[in-house]
Symmetry: C2
Subunit: 203 residues, 2 copies
């Protein structure tokens, strides 16, 4: 059988979500590194694979592509311990995935991108400032939830944790101070203690 292929960019939290899940599933995969800073996801060749020009993208079999990190997480985790079978719990996982993409990633991941990936904190200072309040609002909501829960859904580790972990555990690289969020810090340790955990810098 052909290996699943992941189009990826190592510093990307969205790519890391998929790398982490595939590794924890014990599913071997091929990885194609594309440097988004050099426009490698904007070439005609890559756009024919993903018209939205973004990683992560998986090629499930020859010519069969799936984009959007959280859609890929759901696809890969169906039928595994990482996605609950119960309909309402599964819906809660989706709810947190939507929260991550809409209320978390656009503030926390973009700040990290400008500051730590591009290294242009000065140039983007105004934009970074605008991301502070909504970014901290997302972290506060997570903190509140984690004060009375070990994980985001069903008291066990699921793709909701993977999705939220990806950019939260490196939020400091976007200038967010996590020391004021003890429940998040404890949850980060619980995620890092999961079997087959790999760090964001591991291919």
């Amino acid at each position: 059988m052909e290996l699943l292929c992941l189009y990826d960019f190592l510093p990307s939290g969205n790519g890391y979500k998929i790398r982490l899940l595939l590794t924890q599933l014990g599913m071997p995969f091929e990885r194609v590194e594309l440097n988004i800073l050099k426009g490698e996801t904007r070439t005609p060749e890559f756009l024919s694979k993903n018209p939205n020009g973004k990683i992560p993208l998986i090629e499930i079999e020859s010519g069969k592509y799936l984009a959007e990190s959280n859609a890929i997480l759901v696809y890969l985790s169906e039928g595994t311990e990482f996605l609950p079978y119960d309909r309402f719990l599964r819906a809660q996982v989706l709810q947190w995935l939507c929260f991550e993409q809409y209320s978390h990633e656009p503030f926390i991941a973009t700040s990290r991108f400008w500051i730590s990936i591009l290294g242009k904190a000065e140039e983007y200072s105004e934009a970074i400032k605008q991301k502070r309040e909504p970014g901290y609002a997302a972290l506060s909501l997570m903190e509140k939830h984690l004060t009375s829960h070990s994980f985001f859904v069903g008291e066990r580790y699921t793709i909701a944790d993977i999705a939220l972990f990806a950019y939260t555990h490196v939020a400091d690289e976007g200038g967010f101070d996590l020391t004021q969020f003890p429940a998040i810090q404890n949850w980060i340790e619980r995620v890092k203690a999961q079997p087959r955990y790999i760090s964001i810098t591991q291919a």
Copy 2:
């Protein structure tokens, strides 16, 4: 049995997604209108239901809440004709839902909100200007897809169409010109021709 309850705001496209699907499913529901412009989703009472302070929110049974429009769409459509059973097609539906929340709604819906809901086009003119390019990029990507497809996934009407229709068909209220997108316009007509279609202003 208790009726499902939808916490809603009539001008909201995100609320409309749920109203439209419930109506097309023939599922009776109760609707609670909350005026987001008057802070009615920021009261302690509502925040105890949805800590993120947003509509739509459904109460499935007493005290059992689900937030995030696209998570609600998936929850309600499981096992129905509006969500494919095939694993890859279902993943493609999720891919378009993620696209809508990340690459479409933040530009097209927010422009409509400032211009047509708040009526403050002048005050927000700089922010609106910044939303133009990414908003048109989302519409162009949709146009390209619809040039060779009748619907977004599997050549049939699914919740991917509902999610993308909600803010696309009123994109002009956000200052986006749809006349340059004939495939989108034809798709809008196909959606409007679906059984039990209701318009965005219908409760």
